[in-house]
């Protein structure tokens, strides 16, 4: 398997096959003499912008401090939760619990649901 071609930038799907972002970064653990291993998938935020330019990464960090959902740490998903890595990366996690879709929920809650006809009222009736 090739890490960049087959894993990096692929779509992440959670247990319900709902999209939860892309593989924006990968963490490798380096031992003294042991074989390096990929331990985590990183989703979103400064990690992504850092790849374009370090300045973008700094800007992204500063922006998220005063706007959007609050998070101390970046979103990391352990590689052990990967079920299959083919066309998409399928994970054995609940998208909501990982923090990967914090922004999606935040925007839905703070902006979209305030606009009439967003469909969130109907969803409430159903449940």
């Amino acid at each position: 398997m090739h890490l960049v071609r087959d894993v990096l930038d692929k779509e992440l799907l959670d247990r319900e096959e709902e999209p939860m972002g892309r593989v924006d970064g990968l963490i490798m653990q380096l031992g003294e003499r042991s074989q390096p291993r990929i331990t985590h998938i990183v989703v979103g935020g400064a990690t992504l912008w850092e790849r374009v330019h370090p300045a973008f990464g700094r800007l992204s960090r500063r922006m998220s401090r005063w706007w959007g959902p609050k998070r101390d740490k970046e979103v990391r998903i352990p590689w052990s939760r990967v079920k299959t890595a083919g066309r998409d990366i399928k994970l054995d996690v609940e998208g909501k619990d990982t923090g990967a879709i914090d922004w999606e929920l935040w925007i839905a809650h703070h902006i979209i649901e305030h606009i009439p006809g967003s469909g969130h009222e109907e969803a409430d009736d159903g449940s």
Partner: protein, 102 residues
């Protein structure tokens, strides 16, 4: 120590004598029972073509490229790569000891 793969990509590699080798373009891994183990770092133009899965496009026009460099590829086993400073990876061997994988 933790290394960010996405930032390692494209880092310039020098050998033990300080000679330029190329950039890290791809990483070969082995997926075995829940772990993803790094086997080798791939360096050279050929690794880029591999990464873009573009051989069907490159092969017919390779004559136009007038160079065998498109086929250059170093396959550096993990033991031979020193990543203490991830921004400046260094080989533990000399460039001449590397074998061309292609």
């Amino acid at each position: 120590m933790e290394v960010k793969i996405e930032l390692l990509l494209g880092a310039k590699v020098r050998d033990v004598n300080g000679e330029k080798v190329g950039r890290i373009e791809e990483i070969r891994v082995d997926r075995s029972d829940n772990a993803l183990l790094v086997e080798a770092y791939l360096i050279g133009a050929s690794a880029v073509v591999d990464r873009l899965s573009a051989w069907t496009l490159v092969r017919p026009i390779k004559g136009l490229l007038k160079s065998r460099r498109i086929y250059s590829l170093y396959d550096v086993p993990w033991q031979d790569m020193d990543l203490t400073d991830p921004r400046h990876p260094v080989l533990r061997t000399a460039k001449s000891d590397l074998h061309h994988a292609r």
